[in-house]
């Protein structure tokens, strides 16, 4: 039997706004994926470790605190160090338009602003996992 697709939804840093993360987690679960939600206040190190230990197919980070330019590249760096940079990383939250190309250049696969329909997120996640 084919293994169920597993996704890690994480909150990194001190940001405590969880609604988006929970709603996206629910939408992915409803689409048949297994979703692991990390809860709040994870360090980039904790996110990367959990992703590897749980053998997930994708990491989704919710971040609204403005610290994305420090914390997202840090996750990529750690994944790379653990030779796990084949796990696609996506993000959502309040991320200014100017930062999006920079983050994508660094290796973040997709960035979803607020007001993104959940169907669109599910679609992108499925495609990213399928193309692994």
């Amino acid at each position: 039997m084919k293994r169920k697709r597993r996704v890690l939804i994480g909150k990194v840093g001190l940001d405590g706004h969880e609604v988006g993360a929970r709603v996206v987690a629910k939408a992915l679960a409803d689409a048949g994926m297994e979703v692991i939600y990390t809860g709040l206040r994870q360090t980039p190190e904790m996110i990367a470790r959990t992703a590897i230990e749980e053998g997930v197919d994708l990491i989704g980070i919710s971040i609204l605190s403005g610290s994305h330019m420090t914390l997202l590249p840090e996750i990529l760096k750690i994944l790379n160090r653990y030779k796990a940079d084949d796990i696609p990383l996506i993000a959502g939250g309040i991320i200014p338009a100017d930062d999006i190309p920079v983050l994508k250049q660094l290796g973040v696969k997709e960035i979803f602003p607020p007001d993104t329909p959940t169907a669109e997120i599910v679609d992108v996640v499925e495609k990213l996992i399928a193309s692994r």
Binding site: L14, V19, R22, D30, T70, I94, A97, I100, T118
Partner: protein, 567 residues
């Protein structure tokens, strides 16, 4: 209404439905089958005296006069005719030096109250040089480590020139309070000369906002210590603002959010009653931060209904006798519908939200900056947020009569319906054993999550309209050029903290921190020893570390969801 009159009106309505409404619907149907609000109440086509009759409306009992029980129309007899609401400016970013410039400009253009937005490390009790603070210093607010930062931040802004000065301080309110007391001393002021306002409502952090530090029970004690201290030493201060806003924003809906926030308040009050305070000694010090962003009229009625609920709960359930305990002072924040596309339209959205709260009779109001959804507001945008309120307060006669919509069939019906919903929800939480039980048994969080998912579904189905985004869209590119915090700022703030540590009397800091530990382990009030530590330039992180050692840290349960299994 007499029986004869009401019978006649019923007949009148029937005739209208047949002769007028029917043909109209036949030729031009309404846009939707039902007009339903975010709180689940359906808005009717038209309201008449018959609606009031149906809910058993009694003017004297349900509404009465402003400044008198049950305070539906307002908490003072003259409301904005005597003085408009307090115009708050919520602002903070970067380090205290840059932020001070912004504060000066806000005060210059007429802001009555500065509400310090503080960064996340500060909010959860980490100094700027802590490992967890990396990348977060000065981001969502200004970085504050010690009293020195407060001195810089309020350089040239005497606290007594403001109507109030404020910080959230949800997780460490004794420190927040002490920072203001000590700053006042530096400015040559005693607590009687100025007014401090804190959010200091920790319970909602466990369900909606996440800036907790300690486990729930010690946190309630820390929160209550601040309220108790003010009850004895600064009765004109606002040491706790029960916060429905974040609970609604997270998904609960305004009715449940208000009920949960009040239930959280009852938890702090009961804790203080157990420690020997009288209800009339503490209840007047509370205020509430209400929020309804989905419906203009619900927002107005929400404020009116909540004043009535508060009056009843304080009088009938908590045994208050002083009218000051029964008057609910309301804070509101005009925001919540802003879009990233075409951000200028947010000025209109924010203005309408502010107008609703003004028509609802709030005491303290702040507007979002229209560009806030893109990041830290620009100076010009922050100024417009203040100007919008000034226009509402001083142009076009909006403030000339008290509760101008009172008596409307619609408004009074809706107010009563909302009141009933809030009271039912309070009873539900009380029935579970109160706020802490509702956090621990997951009731609060499941109500919030259900609401958030319902809202997202409505959004996905296109039922939640955002003009320029989901409808009438013309733009595809998100606006660029967001305001930037200088990345070098973090290092500067770390150096400033190191400098303070070098210059202060280390021995005195150690001694005061030991006193904090002793009181934390015992039953006393934390504010006096914390104030001594703050005066000695102990940092927020150092004081919180002592409290972490005594109380431990809150560990949220991990939540795992997968299809067919919801953890």
């Amino acid at each position: 209404m007499s029986d004869r009159k009401s019978k006649a009106l019923e007949q009148h309505q029937k005739d209208w439905e047949e002769e007028c409404l029917g043909p109209s619907l036949a030729s031009k149907p309404e846009r939707k089958d039902r007009f339903v609000t975010d709180i689940g109440l359906e808005t009717a086509r038209v309201y008449t005296p018959l609606d009031l009759e149906q809910i058993g409306f009694d003017y004297g009992e349900n509404v009465g006069f402003p400044g008198a029980y049950p305070f539906t129309r307002g908490i003072t007899p003259t409301m904005y005719r005597a003085e408009p609401w307090v115009i708050r400016a919520y602002s903070g970013f970067g380090d205290p030096v840059t932020c001070n410039e912004r504060y000066k400009r806000l005060v210059e253009c007429g802001a009555d109250e500065i509400v310090m937005a503080i960064d996340l490390p500060t909010q959860v009790g980490y100094d700027s040089d802590h490992l967890m603070a990396r990348g977060e210093v000065g981001k969502v607010g200004v970085a504050i480590d010690t009293l020195r930062d407060m001195e810089i931040l309020f350089e040239g802004i005497p606290l007594n020139k403001l109507k109030r000065v404020s910080m959230l301080g949800n997780s460490f309110s004794p420190i927040a309070l002490s920072l203001f007391i000590a700053l006042g001393e530096k400015q040559g002021l005693s607590p009687s000369d100025f007014v401090v306002d804190l959010q200091n409502d920790i319970l909602k952090e466990y369900i909606a906002r996440g800036t907790y530090i300690f486990p729930i029970r010690p946190s309630v004690r820390v929160t209550a210590d601040t309220i108790g201290y003010c009850a004895k030493h600064a009765r004109h201060w606002y040491p706790s603002t029960l916060c429905a806003n974040h609970i609604n924003a997270a998904g609960a809906g305004s009715t449940k959010a208000a009920a949960f926030a009040l239930s959280n308040g009852l938890c702090y009050m009961r804790h203080l009653l157990e420690r020997g305070y009288a209800i009339d000694e503490i209840a007047p010090l509370f205020s509430m931060f209400l929020d309804e962003r989905a419906d203009f009229f619900v927002a107005i009625c929400h404020c009116r209904a909540m004043r009535r609920v508060w009056a009843k709960v304080m009088k009938e359930r908590m045994g208050a006798r002083d009218p000051a305990s029964m008057t609910l002072k309301i804070t509101a924040y005009s925001h919540g519908r802003e879009t990233m596309l075409e951000p200028e339209n947010n000025i209109v959205r924010i203005t309408l939200a502010a107008l609703a709260y003004v028509l609802g009779g709030v005491q303290f109001l702040y507007n979002a900056s229209y560009d806030e959804v893109l990041g830290t507001p620009k100076g010009e945008a922050a100024k417009i947020a203040v100007r919008t309120q000034q226009i509402l307060a001083h142009e076009m006669g909006i403030t000339h009569t008290v509760d101008p919509l009172g008596g409307s069939y619609f408004i009074e019906t809706l107010t009563s319906q909302i009141e009933k919903q809030i009271l039912q929800e309070i009873d539900k939480v009380e029935g579970m054993g109160g706020a802490i039980a509702a956090i621990e048994n997951g009731y609060y969080l499941s109500a919030i999550t259900e609401g958030a998912i319902r809202r997202q579904r409505e959004f996905d189905r296109g039922e939640r309209v955002a003009v320029g985004v989901t409808k009438f869209r013309t733009e595809t590119q998100m606006p660029s050029g967001a305001f930037r915090i200088d990345p070098a700022m973090e290092q500067k703030q770390v150096e400033r903290l190191a400098q303070v540590r070098k210059e202060r009397n280390g021995e005195k800091v150690r001694k005061t921190l030991e006193e904090v530990r002793e009181v934390a382990q015992g039953e006393g009030n934390l504010v006096p020893p914390v104030l001594e530590a703050v005066r000695a330039y102990a940092s927020i992180g150092e004081i919180c570390d002592v409290l972490r050692q005594v109380y431990g840290e809150y560990q949220a349960k991990e939540y795992i969801s997968s299809a067919g299994h919801k953890g």
